[in-house]
Every structure is written in structure tokens, then in C-alpha cells.
Amino acid sequence: MNTRSDLVAGYDGDPLVATFALAGNWFGLNALDVQEVLRSQPMTGVPGAAEGIEGLVNLRGQVVLAYDLRHGLGLPRRGPDEKVMMMVLGSGVEPIGLLVDRIGDVIGVPASSVLPPPETLEGALEGVVSGIHQMGSDLLLILDTGSVVERVLRADSGPGNDGDDNRSDSGRNR
């Protein structure tokens, strides 16, 4: 995989989008926000954390949160045998690992070919899709990095969830 700096240095073309697949759909994120991509790592679960937060991962000495983007986008849960890859977003305050099914190519997407998201976008996809692009025969939903990160950090994981935490009820006097 090309490193970001290779892509960026002297690059003067269309904005780059890093694509990935989730539940048969193609999504994209601003390639400049993606720090790296790796295979699924051993994860430490965080009991009490909101749904969608799969656990914590050791990334070269840094502890990175792993978030299941399927959950964040309201997509069906991953089967036990289905493959998982992790896409690390590195542009924010802390790195965030997004769990996706498959990593696609980094493609140049001219701004002119991006259509605004349809108003009929439902549920969890609402608010995070910044645009739609026709990628060959597939539809590419381009996501807004900031909205995705916010969704992760606020553990606000989509429809029907007002950010309540799945905390055990055994605590008293909360």
C-alpha cells in the first residue's frame, strides 16, 4: 500500500478517496485522513463500553480504539467467519481504528463527479454521508471523516440509540 506521503508529495490531481467495503456496499473516506490499514489485531474487550466499540488494540505501542463501522452505519452484524480489516484514522486528536470488511483501492474522485447525498438517506447513514460517486458499476458512498469520528467517540451508534451506555444494572446509586 502506498504511504500517504507518496501519494501526497507533489500530487496535484483529484481528491483521493480510500475505499472499503462493508456488507456488500462500497464506502470511501478522505485518503488523507487514513493513517494506515492493517489486518485485524488481537483485541482487548472493554466491558461496559457502548455497542460498536469492539475493543482496544496495540498499534506499535499506542493503544487504539477499534470500532465496528458496520454497527455505526446500521448494517447487519458481521458473521463469525467473515473477514475483518482495520482502517486507522490518524488525523484527529487520537487515532481510531475502524473495522471494515475489505479494503479497496485509493482512487481519485473529481469533485465534479460527486453528487450530494439523496434526501431519502435513512437511519444511521444520515449525517455521515457527504456525497455519492459512481465507481464503475458500483455506487460509492463517501463518508465525512469528522462525522464518523464523532459518532465513534460519543458512542452514538446510530438509530434508536441516544448515546446511552450499555452499563450493567448491578451498580447502585448511580
Binding site: 475493543g55 493503544v63 487504539v64 448511580r174
Partner: protein
């Protein structure tokens, strides 16, 4: 030299200029305050003059127009003051302090944007020039603070508002234009130096009266000037030397590793271990800064605030040389500032009220700092009017919606802690300063975010005192590794009091359920027990599965309450590097951070205080009693008597033994199937520890019987050991993992004392078993 290089050099020069100037300014604040007391101190005046002169020179060279202008005119004034041509009176002091603020503002602008053309000091320049012109200059009203949008004094022309200050805010903040027509209450305070700016957005829909509905903007980060640190050269030399030794040790390890394991490799890895520890310690020290770094601003803050409130306040600072980690220092800066301002604004009464109450008209605030038990203790005490707990309770019910019955039933201590709830402010008149009612909860959060605690104690009419406890360093701590539901967790050693192994099969020493709580009777007092698996929402296998009858309990102390945390097993103690918790997880009170274990996996660090709060065992009255009792009683770390029993070494806490006695073997008698001796006019039952531990047969009959006499509820009991080996302090040594099956439940853990494995016995258990055994025998 390329343009790039020149730009870099320039940036470096500017960077240095900023750092040095900021340092200079910090000193200047205090110099001016000193001059207020002693206006004729020529030495100080000269020093101040030179400082401003230097700033002016560099500002001119670097072409920072506004900065140059204001420091130039300030220098003129200072020059005449130094020469005795003018007198340093209150208006001049105020103007000069304003100049210091203006310089700071310029520096901040330069840091953020590379230039200060946007800040406008022309107002101030005029004022300073006037004051330099003649000694009878008209006194200006209370100093106009820089940086607070829309501040207007009572008498001043409302259009002569403060220049738009470029106070840098954390990412996302914007400087707001000042609306000269916005109404402000009278008697605003001037903004104290530096990071207190809270611009009020006049375009917000909330009423901006007194800034009541505003949430405080966090103090602007000082960027470059705060990300460097001064280190003692001697300390650096030590670090360098250690690194040199580290390299040598590493080379040796590499050499010996080729030969495979052996005494040589073992020795060099030991050495490597030693050097690493020392290096770690020394490097940690480089991050330590004295708390005076934060306190140095306070005299100015207090002075300005007191003046504007019309009060007289004296500030005393003790222990300014106390050191703490730089990051923590920065983190407590804002909370401390808020507390001090609160004291002046709401705590200390005005002189008349004080005199009427029989107090001296000058209020007193005392800051103390000292090290205590791995933490830094900071106290802020004032002799003001204290908190009206009745009103606090009322506000808590009204504003925070707490249950009235519960609030009224609270002890004074708990009621005082209510001020830390969001939205509570019992201020009569909300001022710009600290009456917004959003302060104390933010203070508490800020302190707790770095692993500290804050407590408040108050007496109506006498004053209020806040105590902050902050960990000495953040990064590396010793922690106990435990297992719960198949996953490892870490408990910081600083919270750990002792470890218990409880046998649920025992009839008297077991975890009991009282209503919805679980308790354990430890040395006569009730210890609340919390099951970690339950807190984590993973069920409670320990209580459900009858076969798991041994419960491992870590007794933790947090925020004054003591409780037992039941886990599946206790592994080991290690030093871990603490890594911050992801912001997505910060709301989970019971985690305080993460770490990476030796095998590369991430593990969560538990927060004792969070666990206590979550389980409702914090601040319990029972816990308070428990706490004081435990503090008096023995903990792991008190004196331990080491004895030989058969081929075993056992350790017994001295507190569990009443006396040591030696009897000639012939005094041993039998009565009702038990061994006894006559003792103090009564028959003393003997229990042989060798029997209880299942240690083979009794060793060679000694001529003397060595007995540990223990007094419990049923009277005196003698426990026979073979030999007393040592009396030692076990310190806070970590217990080694003990094998359950082998030794049964009498052993509460194993410790390495003087390099030898020693089983620690809990005599409370033994007495039960002893009786059982004796009964059968």
C-alpha cells in the same frame, strides 16, 4: 542561505524570544507587586526596567510594532521612576501591570499568527504616556483588563472598549468581536494575567448579563512556550551517565546471550534491570517542576480581584518548592486558579462585614503544598465566611434535582461535597468572575482527570478549605495484575491496602449478603465487597458457582472509603506504563487508563474511586469507620513475625498476636484430649501450626515450646511453632501467586521476605480450623 533556512532560523529566534519573554513577564508580575509595597526599591525598578528594555529591543528588531510601542513607552515610565523623577503610585502600578498584560497578549498573538499587528495597544500607550508626563496625572479608574470582551467600567466611555485581543483558544475557538453596546454589570474585575480569558459572544442568544449562561472557555493553550522545560544540568549529566552504563550493559547482554543461559547472562540482566530502573527514575525527575511555577501568578490574580471586589486579601504560599510532573502541573493550573478566585470573590467578606464579625479586616488565603504518600497534597484555606450548608442543600434540591430526603439526611461532609455538582452556585450576586455556577464541577473533573481527588471542608463563619490530592507522576506506576472473567486488569498499587483470600465454605469468615450489599467482616469491622465481574456487567460466577469457594479480594482505598474488590485471581505486581483512555471510554468511571502488557496485549487499568462510586460504596458512613479502623490496624506492610513450622516458613502479622511465650516442654499437659499449658492462672489450649498446615509430622521435640499467644473472642489460644526466625517489616512487597490447592485456605498469600518464600497466615482462619480440628481430636 536559502529562504527556507532563513525562515527556520527566524522561527527559532522568535520561539526563543517568546519563551524568555514569558519567563520575564512572570517575574515582572511579582516584581510590580513587590514594588507596590516598596515603591522606592531601586534595585527592583532597575531590574524591571532592563527586562522591558530587552523586550523592546527585540520587538523592534523583529518588527513587532505594537509590542515595541507599548514596551517603549513603558520603558520611558520606568526609566523616570528608577531615576526618582516620578513616584510609583497606584495608577502607575495599575498601568504598568496592564502593560505586562498587553505584552502577554502581543506575545500570544505572535505565537499564533507570527505578528502582533492585530492587537491594538494604542489606548494603553496613551495612558502610559500621560502618566509619564507629569506626577499629577488624573487617576484612571480600575484597570481595564485585556482580553475580556466588552468589559466596560462604570465611568468610562462605553465606546473606549478594549482592543480585540487575540487570545488563543483551543482548536475550534474563535476570537469574538466586541459589541460596545452590550451591557455589563458594574464592578467587573480586570482580567488577571494570561489564561483566564473568557470572551463573551455578544451574538449568542443567551442573555449575556454577568455572563451567567456562558460556559467557561478553557484557558488558551500557550503552545510553544509551554512545551519546553528547564532541566537541571546535573540531572542531565546523571541521565547521560546512566545511558552510557545502559549501553555497556546491553553490549554485555548481547555477548552473554550468545553463550546461552548461565550465571554470566543472569548477572548482566540483573545489572540491566538495575540500570533501567535508575534511568527511569532520573528521567521522570526531569519532568518535575516546582509548583511555584503555577503559584507565581496568584499574587497578581488575588490583588487584582480583591481590588475590584473592594476587599482586602493577603495571600500566603507555603511549600512552593514542592515538585510535580509538568503535565500534572499544567492540569491543575486552571482548577487552582478557579478555587483561589472563588475564595476571594465568594469566600472572603468585605472589610466591614469582617470587622463586624470580629475578624481582621484583611482576609487571609493560604496555599500549602507538600508530598505525602506518593501524592502531592495541595490545600487552599481561607478565613472567609464559609459555606452555608443549608443553602447548598437547598440549591442541590432545586438545581440539581436531588432527592430532598437524601440531601437532608447527608452528613455535613457529604453536603459540602454537593458544591461539586454541575449548576450549583450559592453566590448572591453573579459576577463575571466565578459566580456562574459552572465552576466547581469543572474543577473536580479537571483534578480527577489526572487521577487526583478534591475534598472540601467548611465552617460557617470561619472559612473554607479545599484539599487536592494529585499523583506525583503520571506515567509509570506499580500495579497489581488480576484476572476477571478471563481477562486481565490492573489495579494501581497506590489504591491497594491488602489482599484477602476468603473461603466461602467457612461459617464465620465469608462474604455475607446483607440486603443488596455484600460485606465481609474484617478484624471486627464490616468491609463492603464489590464483585468486579458484576461491575463489568459480566455476571457473578463466584457467588453463583458453589464450587468456586475461594474468593480473592483486593482491599482498596479510594477517596476516604475502603472496600473489597472481588476478582477471580490475583496474578502479580508489575510496573506499568499508563496510557490515557480513549475519549470514547472516559465516561466509564471505573477505568482510569490502559497499558500494554508484556505479551503485547492491551489491558485496562481500574480506578478505585470510580469503582467505589459506581458500586455505591463511596462516602459510606460504614466505610468511614472501616477506614479509620483499618488505618489503625495492620495492613500489608506492618511488622511480620517469621517462624519456622516444619520445613515451612510462615509469616504472621504481629498485630494478630498478643504475646510470645516460651514454655519448657515438660509443662505441656493434656486435658480433655487437648494439649494445654497453665498460663495466667488458666489453661491455655495449644494448637500446633504444623498440624494445621499439614506439614508432615511434628519436627524433633524441642525442649522448649515456642508459643504465639493470641487472644480472640473465645479467650487465649496458644499456637505452637518450631522456631521464631525473624521479625521483619514486609513493606509493600507483592505477594507471589499462591497455589490454592496445596495449602488450603489458611494461607492468605505468599511473600518473599529476605529472598525466601514465606506463607502469610491469617490467624483468624486458623482459630476456626483449630477449633474444628481440636474438636475432632
Amino acid at each position: 542561505m536559502t529562504d527556507e533556512n532563513m525562515a527556520d532560523d527566524m522561527a527559532e529566534i522568535i520561539e526563543e524570544f517568546l519563551v524568555e519573554s514569558h519567563e520575564s513577564l512572570d517575574r515582572l508580575d511579582n516584581d510590580f507587586l513587590a514594588l507596590e509595597e516598596h515603591p522606592d526599591d531601586v534595585e527592583t525598578l532597575s531590574r524591571v526596567f532592563r527586562a522591558i528594555h530587552t523586550i523592546k529591543g527585540t520587538a523592534s528588531f523583529l518588527d513587532f510594532g505594537q509590542l515595541e510601542a507599548v514596551s517603549h513607552v513603558g520603558e520611558d515610565l520606568l526609566s523616570r521612576l528608577r531615576d526618582g523623577a516620578l513616584k510609583l503610585d497606584r495608577p502607575r502600578t495599575d498601568a504598568l501591570l496592564a502593560m505586562v498584560d498587553a505584552i502577554r497578549a502581543s506575545l500570544d498573538a505572535i505565537e499564533e499568527r507570527g505578528g502582533d499587528s492585530q492587537v491594538d495597544h494604542s489606548e494603553l500607550v496613551l495612558r502610559l504616556r500621560e502618566l509619564t508626563a507629569d506626577s499629577g496625572g488624573s487617576p484612571s479608574p480600575a484597570p481595564a483588563g485585556q482580553g475580556e470582551a466588552g468589559t466596560s467600567e462604570g465611568d468610562e466611555d462605553p465606546t473606549s472598549t478594549q482592543p480585540d485581543q487575540a487570545s488563543p483558544e483551543p482548536a475550534g475557538g474563535e476570537t469574538t468581536p466586541i459589541d460596545p453596546t452590550s451591557t455589563q454589570p458594574d464592578g467587573d474585575s480586570p482580567m488577571p494575567a494570561g489564561g483566564e480569558t473568557t470572551p463573551i459572544d455578544p451574538t449568542s442568544t443567551e442573555p449575556s448579563i454577568g455572563g451567567e449562561a456562558q460556559s467557561p472557555v478553557p484557558a488558551p493553550a500557550r503552545g510553544g512556550s509551554e512545551s519546553s522545560i528547564r532541566v537541571d544540568v546535573a540531572l542531565l549529566d546523571r541521565v547521560m551517565a546512566l545511558v552510557g552504563e545502559l549501553v555497556l550493559a546491553r553490549n554485555q547482554v548481547l555477548e552473554h546471550a550468545k553463550e546461552g543461559p548461565g550465571p554470566a547472562l543472569l548477572a548482566t540482566t540483573q545489572r540491566l534491570n538495575l540500570i533501567t530502573s535508575e534511568l527511569q527514575e532520573q528521567v521522570m525527575k526531569t519532568r518535575m517542576q516546582q509548583i511555584r511555577h503555577v503559584w507565581s501568578r496568584f499574587p497578581r490574580v488575588v490583588r487584582d480581584l480583591a481590588l475590584s471586589c473592594g476587599k482586602e486579601v493577603a495571600l500566603e504560599m507555603i511549600g512552593a518548592e514542592t515538585e510535580l510532573d509538568k503535565t500534572l502541573l499544567e492540569a491543575i493550573r486552571d482548577p487552582l486558579t478557579h478555587i483561589v478566585r472563588n475564595s476571594v470573590d465568594h469566600g472572603i467578606e468585605d472589610p466591614d462585614t469582617r470587622r463586624a464579625a470580629g475578624k481582621p479586616s484583611t482576609g487571609h488565603i493560604r496555599l500549602t503544598a507538600r508530598h505525602e504518600g506518593g501524592q502531592v497534597l495541595i490545600e487552599i484555606c481561607d478565613d472567609g465566611k464559609g459555606l452555608d450548608l443549608q443553602r447548598v442543600r437547598e440549591k442541590a434540591i432545586q438545581n440539581a434535582g436531588l432527592d430532598p430526603d437524601r440531601v437532608m439526611a447527608m452528613s455535613d461532609r457529604e453536603a459540602a461535597a454537593l458544591v461539586f455538582l454541575p449548576g450549583l452556585s450559592t453566590a448572591e450576586k453573579v459576577t463575571n468572575v466565578s459566580g456562574r455556577g459552572v465552576g466547581m464541577d469543572v474543577v473536580k473533573q479537571g483534578i480527577e482527570a489526572i487521577g487526583g481527588t478534591v475534598e472540601i471542608s467548611t465552617e460557617l463563619g470561619a472559612g473554607t478549605s479545599l484539599t487536592l490530592r494529585v499523583p506525583l507522576t503520571l506515567a509509570i506506576i506499580p500495579a497489581l495484575n488480576v484476572m476477571c472473567s478471563g481477562q486481565q486488569y490492573l489495579i494501581p498499587q497506590v489504591s491497594l491496602v491488602e489482599l484477602l483470600r476468603v473461603d466461602q465454605g467457612s461459617t464465620s469468615h465469608r462474604v455475607e449478603t446483607a440486603g443488596t450489599s455484600r460485606v465481609f467482616r474484617l478484624r471486627g469491622e464490616l468491609l463492603p465487597i464489590v464483585y468486579l465481574s458484576e461491575v463489568l456487567g459480566l455476571g457473578n460466577q463466584a457467588l453463583d458457582d458453589r464450587r468456586l469457594h475461594v474468593h480473592n479480594i483486593a482491599v482498596l482505598r479510594a477517596e476516604g472509603s475502603v472496600f473489597g474488590l472481588a476478582v477471580d485471581s490475583v496474578l502479580s505486581t508489575e510496573e506499568i506504563v499508563v496510557k490515557p483512555l480513549s475519549s470514547a471510554l472516559r465516561h466509564l468511571d471505573f477505568y482510569s487508563g490502559t497499558t500494554i502488557l508484556g505479551d503485547g496485549r492491551v489491558a485496562l487499568i481500574l480506578d478505585a474511586a470510580g469503582l467505589a462510586r459506581y458500586s455505591g460504596v463511596a462516602g459510606d458512613e460504614t466505610s468511614d469507620q472501616m477506614n479509620s479502623d483499618l488505618e489503625d490496624g495492620p495492613a500489608v506492610g506492618s511488622a511480620v513475625l517469621v517462624c519456622a513450622v516444619g520445613d515451612r516458613r510462615v509469616g504472621i502479622s504481629l498485630a494478630q498476636i498478643t504475646r510470645l511465650e516460651r514454655f519448657p516442654a515438660e509443662t505441656l499437659e493434656f486435658a480433655a484430649g487437648r494439649e494445654v499449658v497453665q498460663y495466667r492462672g488458666d489453661l491455655l489450649e495449644i494448637t500446633r501450626l504444623a498440624d494445621l498446615l499439614g506439614v508432615g509430622t511434628r519436627s524433633t521435640e524441642p525442649e522448649t515450646l515456642t508459643l504465639l499467644i493470641r487472644e480472640d473472642s473465645s479467650g487465649f489460644r496458644g499456637l505452637a511453632v518450631d522456631r521464631i526466625l525473624d521479625l521483619t517489616s514486609a513493606g509493600n512487597l507483592p505477594p507471589l501467586p499462591s497455589d490454592e490447592n496445596e495449602r488450603g485456605d489458611l494461607v492468605s498469600g505468599s511473600i518473599s521476605i529476605d529472598g525466601q518464600v514465606t506463607d502469610i497466615l491469617d490467624l483468624g482462619q486458623l482459630t476456626d480450623r483449630g477449633r474444628e480440628l481440636a474438636g475432632r481430636g
